[in-house]
Symmetry: C2
Subunit: 377 residues, 2 copies
Amino acid sequence: MINSQSRKNTFSKKWDKYSDKDILPLWIADMDLQSPKFLQDIFAKRIKHNTYGYTLTPAKLNHEVIKYYKKKQQWSIKNEWIIWLPNLVTAIYAVNKMASDSSQSLVIPKPIYPPFTESAKHYKAVFSFVSMVEEHGRLTYNFSKISKLLKKDAWLMLANPCNPGGSVLNLDEMEKIISMVFKEKAFLLSDEIHSDLILDQNIPFFSLGKDKRIIDRTITLHSCAKTFNIPGLSCGFAIIPSKKLRTRFLNTIHGIVPDPSLFGIIATLECLKKGDSWRNELLKYLRDNRDRVVNVLSKISNISFIAPEATFLIWIKILHPVPKKGWRSYFEEFGIGVSDGRDFGDPQSIRLNFGTSSSNLNKALKRFSLAMENING
Amino acid sequence: MINSQSRKNTFSKKWDKYSDKDILPLWIADMDLQSPKFLQDIFAKRIKHNTYGYTLTPAKLNHEVIKYYKKKQQWSIKNEWIIWLPNLVTAIYAVNKMASDSSQSLVIPKPIYPPFTESAKHYKAVFSFVSMVEEHGRLTYNFSKISKLLKKDAWLMLANPCNPGGSVLNLDEMEKIISMVFKEKAFLLSDEIHSDLILDQNIPFFSLGKDKRIIDRTITLHSCAKTFNIPGLSCGFAIIPSKKLRTRFLNTIHGIVPDPSLFGIIATLECLKKGDSWRNELLKYLRDNRDRVVNVLSKISNISFIAPEATFLIWIKILHPVPKKGWRSYFEEFGIGVSDGRDFGDPQSIRLNFGTSSSNLNKALKRFSLAMENING
């Protein structure tokens, strides 16, 4: 069963931002839903032991990752390809550092989740933006433009499913990307953290890095953090089949990137072993939420939006001149705290997180409608 | 009450290294003792909530750190000086990266905890070793040599209490270091993670960075990880009073060093609030262990050792030619897994972790004695 949960008094980044205000937080990408009961159970068992010393990622955790890819994608991952991480942002920064240190340029589609561009700027990497395009209600890539920019040894940086757009690469799009990376001898970072949150049951998912042509040129990132709502527990992983690339990556993270935390390790193991049936219930819950959001938004004029195929996030373009303070401040005045599209490369848009209870979502949608009525006059 | 605890089947780095062998692990620095009961209680309460989303370090956590320094050292820390970290190794790496990027040299005493030198090598920083000297059964610094090597803007890298030596800087030694750093306009990293584990009750402790002369040239590192046996929970902090230095440090860790984990934050808050009485019991327990170790070792010939003033670690020099495979392998053959002094800058020595149960310790000491009898013939 999926249970919603108040996040108050839990040091929640999402909720404490507005703790003294009547603003419903719909920004940072975690959910106002309880994690599966089996996590509570395994944690209760673990804390009976009451020691929390240096913890390794056990062999059986790798074994579960290998099983996961085998079952979901018929992809045979090798044990040594798996690198454990405290989260995926550290890995995105590490790839940008590697790229910058080796004068490799980067091609970054936009809109995209802020760490992609922030990390490129932070390490003074040379990068180009390529705006995504809307086609048949989905965000997709401008393949010809990417192809022109993607040089030998350059990095194409993707999130699939994309964040904020929520679209999942289809087989045709995958082939375009794979053949492009292969042809140009480029590299690919594929952040697949939302790949277990595909709302439409008929959409298949395959990791780009699975393709033999580019397997040695790809870093795949994944984690249970989004699906099982455990980003506070610090655990994720990279899959890097190429030994050379893996060595570079390991060298970059050495010492400065810590191991996953004890509870993150325990949780990830348990989610991989037992998570499927809870996840199916979650998908149903999130589908209902998405459909409700889409239903409300389609009645509002002067916005355009992408109904997400995956994630609990929706990307909405506001077809009005952007207020000076940006859309975030505008919507805060109406009691909802959204992510400002500026941080994703498009000041015209906002990202709204619908991973919350039905009652919060209804309240939030009413406030959003009111805010839009106010602009629409 | 201090309870010992088997660490088996908990993904313990320390124990799983030898899980299939009859070797007692006395290496990595965590304890085979339960954490305080109040941690179990707060965790039990927290998991009832069963959400584990993005978590911030709450204002009251900073407040407790400020109270801690005020009470223990009459040092008034400012809120903005505190930087939260997943652990202290990441910070040691960050300082070495900063030093290397700015062509600042480093002076590192030895023996020292491996990350100090590993990080300098990793970032190709220019560094000099200065061997510590034994004086009246304590390890102390070669001040005149350090003074010669410490140039303007160079970093002096210390652990106080020192690890592996376990000595605590006395007021005279502190004055020498402070005036040297001040005179040379150098910088100081002071890792004080063992400063709440001073076994001798009459030894006072003050942070070097508290001194006004060098307050703007010092990074102080601390954590509850060692004292309360929670290194698996990923939480620690740096205190950096200088805004300029803080900005450099924050810039270095940005993105690639993650936040502390949720359970690390909860645990640290609770330990700072409630930890004192449990800590006093722990000190008694560890004092007993230390005294037992010292008692056994003093009867063994051809070793020399430092009775530690702090920590649950003891540094032992073996006065025999080092076997080809090193001392670690030698002692493993006799059923104890120690830290090899090679990794600390002295292949002649070993570090032995006595943070374990009385029965384990007795067994380990018997095995150590037997191993020594075998060399001594």
